[in-house]
């Protein structure tokens, strides 16, 4: 905190041993302080961090594994979570769900599920379940939560056609959906900074050609282009490679907007007085770009990137939903939504749309985070 010095009429800094506070804080400290004041952005950031935690350890968080199925529970509706029950000794805290009683209507051939209160399925934390390898190498069979007795029906989000737990599959889908955005944006960023930087630095005809190219690419309808490119991937390609090919396809369009942002900032900054001053200090172009210019728009780039990720997630979801993106056995939110492609299924089993809710939450959180970062990117405005 500075004080007003009454003898000299100057605003003087506080004691010099105190090396923090306004004036001593660097750019990133100011960005952080301003970001913290953006409540929605912080909330978005927390959700995003949680989403990536989920993406890192879905095996532990999901009650069952990806492949677990039970045809007896085909299209079972979501169960209601009960916190406790009274078994003659008063109400006790015992979280449970109720198992199903299924009846088959022989006229319509449809199976209906009814809550069976006589068969509570007790739930617990860190329960034993199917075994898996955490992070791919730590063998364990603990799950964060699930039925205390392994194998009892537990479908918080309901089940799909094959009787698979939609909650577990959505948790597994997080891994692919959240990372495909990251990798796609990372690729776009490399292209964007490179091409945008060239465009802004050289200007003139080069700039003109690149900008017209960007306009052309942006004018091509996105979905047909993706369909065309995705269709070119042979069916024999293993799923993991499909995943990487899809990220490349997404960044074919994604780099254009980033390139524009980079070019715009380059052009604006080239005429800033402090860049001119750096030229007069004798700095070469490399030193000017990396020491004087890049730090100034790094925070803007980070903000743009965080706003680009949701676009990637939505694009992947759309492609997979249409059946031309990722394919089983890889599970993303879009792949899960394929189940909800026809109206009759949705009408009888609306819970198949729940992976879509995950998409909405993730995209909103990333957008809020991006908004917060964008506002914080220039902390000197107030």
């Amino acid at each position: 905190m500075s004080t007003f010095d009454e003898t000299t009429g100057q605003v003087a800094p506080a004691a010099k041993t105190h090396q923090r506070g306004r004036g001593f804080d660097g750019h990133w400290a100011l960005v952080w302080q301003k970001f913290l004041r953006h409540r929605l952005g912080v909330a978005g950031g927390v959700v995003v961090i949680l989403a990536y935690v989920v993406a890192a350890i879905p095996e532990f968080l999901a009650p069952v594994t990806l492949e677990a199925y039970n045809p007896a529970y085909s299209y079972a509706p979501p169960q209601t979570l009960h916190l406790g029950r009274d078994e003659g000794e008063g109400w006790q805290f015992r979280p449970h769900v109720n198992a199903y009683k299924s009846e088959i209507d022989y006229n319509s051939g449809r199976r209906t599920f009814v809550d069976d209160e006589s068969q509570p399925v007790d739930l617990g934390l860190f329960v034993e379940g199917e075994s898996y390898n955490l992070f791919g190498f730590i063998p364990t069979n603990r799950h964060l939560f699930g039925p205390v007795i392994e194998g009892q029906p537990f479908f918080l989000f309901g089940a799909d056609r094959l009787g698979r737990d939609i909650l577990s599959r959505t948790i597994y889908g997080t891994r692919i959906s959240m990372t495909i955005g990251l990798i796609g944006v990372a690729l776009s960023l490399v292209f964007g900074i490179l091409i945008g930087g060239i465009s802004g630095l050289f200007g003139g005809v080069t700039d003109n050609v690149i900008q017209r190219l960007i306009e052309f690419i942006q004018s091509v309808p996105a979905i047909p282009l993706w369909i065309g490119l995705a269709a070119a991937i042979p069916a024999s390609v293993p799923p993991l490679q499909v995943y990487f090919l899809i990220t490349i396809i997404l960044s074919v369009l994604g780099w254009t907007s980033l390139a524009r942002v980079v070019r715009g900032r380059f052009l604006a900054m080239r005429n800033e007085d402090f860049v001119k001053a750096a030229r007069l200090d004798g700095c070469g172009p490399v030193r000017i770009i990396f020491r004087h210019m890049l730090p100034s728009f790094l925070s803007h780039i980070i903000a743009t990137v965080s706003l680009a990720i949701p676009g990637m997630i939505l694009a992947e979801t759309a492609l997979s939903y249409l059946g031309i993106g990722l394919r089983t056995p890889i599970v993303s939110w879009g792949v899960l939504l394929q189940e909800a492609q026809n109206v009759r299924t949705i009408a009888s089993a609306p819970w198949l749309l729940l992976p879509g809710a995950a998409v909405v939450v993730a995209v909103l959180a990333l957008n809020f985070l991006g908004d917060g970062l964008r506002d914080a990117a220039d902390p000197y405005s107030d």
Partner: protein, 694 residues
Amino acid sequence: MDNLIEIRDLRVTFAGAIDVVNGLDLDIAPGKTLCLVGESGCGKSVTAKAILQVIDHPGRVSGGSINLRQPDGSVLDIAKTKPTSPVMQHVRGGDIAMIHQEPMSFLSPLYTIGNQISEALMLHRKVGEKAARAEGIRMLEEVGMPDPARRYDSYTFQLSGGQRQRAMIAMALINKPRLLIADEPTTALDVTTQANILDLLARLQRDTGMGVLFITHDLGVVAEIADEVAVMYLGKIVERGPVREVLEHPKHPYTRGLLASMPRLDGDFKASLQAIRGMVPPPALRPAGCPFHPRCDWARADMCGHVQVLETELGHDHMVACHAYGPQAHKFDRVDRPVAAAAAAAAVKVREESAAPLLSVRDIKKHFPIRSGFFQRQTGAVRAVDAVSLDIFPGETLGLVGESGCGKSTLGQTIVGLHRADSGSMRFAEDDRPAVDLLAARGAEARRLRTDIRMIFQDPTGSLNPRMRVRNIIGEVLQVEGQLSDAEIEARVQALLAKVGLSPDYAQRYPHAFSGGQRQRIAIARALASDPRLVIADEAVSALDVSVQTQIINMMKALQAEMGLTYLFVSHDLGVIANISDRVAVMYAGRIVELGSTEEIFRNPQHPYTEALLAAIPGRGESAGGRIRLGGHVPDVAGRIEGCAFADRCPYALEACRQVRPELKGAGGHLDACIRSEELHLRPVASNETLVPA
């Protein structure tokens, strides 16, 4: 109540805690112009906004009254009226209108100025579209807009700065308001345009009989337009009275300080200016007692620091709020501090007549190509600098003056190497080294020249990289040079900071922690880091408040004497130029039209453009009949100009002037580019004796 507006004990509070206006009393009489003067941060604009109830969030009027006398004799207390009420909407634009510093942000770019003028009319008075148009065109004619019927349908971007200001004035006056609030309306304008707008406002006020509240920081403008003056410091009026009383017999030390820091245009131009020390503190850190006491030379520790100041009436409607005139006046001896010795020493000139020039510029041209089409073919050129020649001698200050767009900044930037000149030569000759042509220098020599010729930019905010610590900003040139170790650079940065009057502790801080004046000191330290010979100051003090401006000018003079610097001082402010320069070059449309010693240029101008510039300096106190006013603006230097570029605006132009382009010629170091300079007897700068404190 005779006054149009009576403000009593007005308080404006921001964010619920900080009083920006702190018990302000002000009366505005009908038909009079009241000037509100003070440095930025004193609460002038907030006061104006309070009168219109348009204070920006989170500020609000928290106390006091603003009584507006209505035409029917009743009184409306604006401070108690809701900002969104219909009464207030009627007051805004109907009874009270406002004009701003920057018309571009006030006028919409999407509508023609006619739309905007007639909208104001149709909102407040029920008139038809046709009548509104006729009235609007009449108003534009009234404010001196050339070709009003055509301009009525123009968009703002099609108008020049002065025309925009006229359009905004027309819009403000269309409803015949009883009070016009003008918030620094001429600050962003060229001096010649400013003179025209001030004339216009004075005439309109005489014709309509409205009251005017004119906010400015420029005491020259005050002398030009005011009937009464109120000097504001930290949210309170510290001195108030009729304009001649206040300017000729200033009482409050703050008023005296403001007047003393104004460059004088009579007697010795180069007399050192007395700066008020320090700067306006933020309102949150308002000192107790008299808020001015930390900066005051008269302040007495036993009372100014804690006793509340009362207003003292001195007769002749002259009020001052200072203990030195109050009941305890006998305790004060009221002696102004003598001018600092260092600054006085710097005023002594050291240049020998025989010295060879440090820099000889010959026929420098810098044209900016105008490109169009996909392949960016060149379709024309802006002749920003067109065959300029001048010499700069070691140890002197050459002032470069002209209106905006005349190419003076481009010339400075070309010399320092930010632009590459298209043709010509620039010979740089240090006494101990062979002369080199700046344009031909390459490699190591070019790098050495960069450290010899340095530049100070206008905007101290934009010229310091916000991501770098002060230490790295100042030391960058040494770091790039790579001859000093980190410890040596560190020591040098500390020494430089001390030299420009800043604490060496500041080296570890970032630029955003500093005020505008402090940032400019850092920028000067950066320019001096490589021990240069020639420093180009491009409007280096134009963005600063008047007292800070004086501090920086005095410091630059002291540094010049101490380090043997040579300055090329680019500015549009003739007062500053007169004070700092040994010689002055006047530039117009890319060429130098007159060049000579400061005395010669100001006392014996040879070019009509110089005469017009001098006449436009506000506060010259000339009789209205004899003043020279320039119409129009600097010609578009993209077109080919035949003959003298100034001919279209020159009151003395003959047919011959449009035929041949006059060359810069003359004897005894006083050159001019006017074919009639022999026969014309042009008027020198008028003395500003009205601005001499008693």
